[in-house]
């Protein structure tokens, strides 16, 4: 009896666009706003085909006025619309952070729950293609530190679709970070992880649940987005050496699925946290602290962290490659960790 698994392969960007299209069809209050989201289809393809399908009334190109249009999304959401608004690169957050942080994230709380803001703020993150200091960041912790936003960062086409649908249906503001390299765009380095099975029918992937991307018994590697794939590649190298790494894809930074992390460390007794964001005061710190609080006695070795070493992202290839974690660096860190205890 052969089980036939029909693979329907989509790139990350098409998975996102499909999710948005299905929700726009289902719910007339969903619409999209942002720079170049219309005819262009979004610089990173997140809105590909939507303009053709839904027209300029529901897929709205904006001026380069992030404060105004992200703020307008807040105002529209308070009226019961469900806007999806794009901040082209996360690096641009500084021109509109007040709207994101003092309003989008706080109004529900300040209103005692009487004003809901069902909106999705989607934004492209990540480097590795020499776009330098103002266009290559992930800034995961910058957003995860501030209460009031759900913050998700999916790493597969399947999750991109499922979590986008969840984000759109969520009654809270959700910051949806998608990684440029995982969009599967024709003008970026092609990588396998940017293409994957995506069912056609709408489905949701819960926000706040980590995913065990690979099981292992010797060490836990916690990562998100591009670093998950690097961790998986490192795990392959390590497996050949007899080291079985468990890889956790956080998927969601707020809420953070601490239980899955702690459970894994209880099993493996070693922890490496890998991050494409800056090292200090970042994801690696929060995950490490969680384990130091909740599973200290389970640790057979000190916790290790691998992230961008507190420098802006440099432009030149050798410099950028030096600061970004990659499979070799991850594998090396694990080897060192195994040697320590």
């Amino acid at each position: 009896m052969a089980t036939e698994l029909k693979q329907r392969l989509l790139t990350g960007n098409k998975a996102m666009a499909e999710a948005i299209a299905q929700e726009m069809t289902r719910d007339p209050s969903v619409f999209v706003m942002g720079e170049d989201v219309g005819r262009y289809g979004g610089i990173f393809g997140a809105t590909e085909g939507l303009y053709e399908k839904f027209g300029s009334e529901r897929v709205i190109d904006t001026p380069i006025s992030e404060t105004a249009f992200i703020g307008a999304a807040i105002g529209a959401a308070a009226e019961g619309m469900r806007p999806i608004v794009e901040l082209m690169f996360v690096d641009f957050f500084g021109v509109c952070m007040d709207q994101i942080y003092n309003h989008m994230a706080k109004i529900h709380y300040m209103s005692g729950g009487s004003v809901k803001l069902p909106l999705v703020l989607m934004t492209a993150v990540g480097g590795g293609y020499n776009d330098a200091a103002q266009h290559s960041q992930t800034l995961y912790a910058t957003f995860a530190h501030l209460p009031g936003l759900k913050v998700v960062a999916p790493s597969t086409p399947y999750d991109l679709k499922g979590m986008m649908i969840s984000a759109i249906r969520d009654d809270n503001p959700v910051l949806f970070m998608f990684h440029k390299s995982l969009q599967g765009l024709g003008w970026m380095a092609p990588i396998d992880a940017a293409v994957g099975h995506v069912p056609e029918e709408p489905y949701t992937v819960p926000i706040g649940k980590a995913r065990i991307a690979r099981e292992g018994r010797d060490v836990t590697i916690v990562a998100v987005q591009m670093m998950v794939h690097h961790a998986l590649a490192a795990a392959e190298q390590l497996a050949a050496e007899g080291i079985e790494a468990e890889v956790i894809d956080l998927r969601s930074l707020v809420p953070l699925d601490r239980q899955t992390i702690v459970d894994s460390v209880r099993k493996t007794h070693r922890l490496l946290v890998v991050d494409e964001d800056y090292l200090s005061y970042g994801i690696t710190a929060e995950v490490a602290a969680t384990v130091a609080e909740q599973a200290l006695y389970e640790l057979a070795a000190p916790i290790r962290r691998l992230a961008v070493p507190d420098v802006p992202i440099p432009y030149s290839r050798p410099l950028e490659q030096f600061v970004l974690p990659n499979p070799d660096k991850i594998a090396a860190a694990v080897r060192q960790l195994m040697a320590e205890g």
């Binding site: 009334e57 105004a68 105002g75 308070a78 009226e79 709380y109 729950g113 004003v115 759900k150 949701t204």
Partner: protein
């Protein structure tokens, strides 16, 4: 232009209600804060920005609004809230930090949210403008004739959000009216030290929209230009910008040493008090003193009741601080 009697009455009564409210808050705020002033003490702690003297800006335009119309206000929000019809009891309870408040005590005086009357405000300069534009956008997308009014101070007209929002609203022909209350100062900084033009209606040209200027805190003139602007917005013809010269009788916030203005400035302003001027107008129109006294009494009663409600309400349970970060969501 003739103004319907019920509009005149409503504006007068509402101005009295606002003034009474603000004066009552002066007292309530002072409670427990002396002899040594301490901003965090007393039944109404935190910053307190009052609008006594600025009533015309709020009532002159809100008289033209429907419940479905949206109003966003800045850090000095009571006159707008009252003019928009926000429940005075729950608003006052919020200012007292009580569980019965609009935000269950989480928001406070600068963060009043009332979905029932589509009113909101916030403590960040000019940040409410995009929210109003978003409400206007929602109205337009749904084919409604609802308008949105964003109030800001003259100091806020130099913040980036001002420019971005007006461009967006003009471009998309959104039903938005922006009202700038020029009360001469942004905290201590006089307009001449903050603003490169004398009057902000000049800035309407940067967006190809109508700009109006109302001199001397004139509520009847405010009524007139607001009617034009609101009607234009309702007709789907896009936004307008109104600047009104107005007066701030009190400090920027309660406790402000007011080192930046001459001692005689406020008494001079009070001589031109807009409530008294409207009262004189009504008298000249033949309205009876005793009718006005009845309106005044009704306004005061509403204020009394609101303060009593607020005082009598309970504080929220401390652990309630952990609630309401996120709405429960089925996904």
């Amino acid at each position: 232009m003739s103004i319907p009697f019920e509009h005149l009455q409503w504006m007068y009564e509402t101005m009295v209600k606002i003034r009474t409210y603000e004066e009552r808050l002066v007292e309530a705020y002072a409670e427990g804060k002396y002899p040594v002033f301490n901003i965090g003490a007393g039944p109404v702690p935190g910053e307190m920005h009052l609008a006594a003297g600025q009533e015309p800006a709020a009532v002159g335009i809100c008289v033209h609004l429907k419940p479905e119309d949206t109003v966003t206000a800045p850090h000095r929000p009571h006159h707008h809230a009252i003019a928009k019809g926000v429940d005075l009891r729950r608003m006052t309870a919020e200012i007292y930090g009580k569980a019965t408040g609009l935000g269950k005590g989480k928001g406070g005086h600068m963060h009043l949210f009332d979905p029932a009357t589509k009113f909101s405000c916030g403590g960040i300069i000019a940040a409410g403008m995009p929210h109003a534009a978003g409400a206007a956008l929602a109205s337009k997308m749904r084919g409604k004739d609802w308008v949105a009014v964003a109030f800001i101070g003259e100091g806020a007209a130099n913040q980036g959000a001002f420019h971005e929002t007006l461009n967006l609203a003009a471009l998309w022909k959104l039903p938005l009216v922006v009202v700038i209350e020029d009360n001469r100062y942004g905290i201590s900084v006089p307009k001449a030290l903050s603003t490169a033009v004398e009057r902000n209606d000049a800035r309407a040209a940067a967006y190809g929209i109508p700009g109006y200027y109302v001199a001397d805190n004139d509520v009847l003139e405010m009524y007139r230009v607001s009617r034009e602007a609101v009607e234009r917005a309702r007709r789907g013809e896009g936004p307008s910008l109104i600047e009104i010269e107005t007066y701030r009788y009190l400090g920027h916030f309660q406790g402000d040493p007011e080192v930046y203005r001459a001692k005689e400035e406020v008494p001079g302003l009070r001589e031109k008090d807009p409530i008294r001027r409207l009262r004189e107008h009504l008298l000249a129109q033949g309205v009876a003193e005793q009718d006005m006294a009845a309106w005044e009494a009704r306004a005061k009663a509403a204020v009394d009741e609101a303060f009593a409600f607020a005082r009598d309400s309970e504080y929220p349970a401390p652990e309630a601080a952990l609630e309401d970060v996120f709405a429960a969501s089925e996904v």
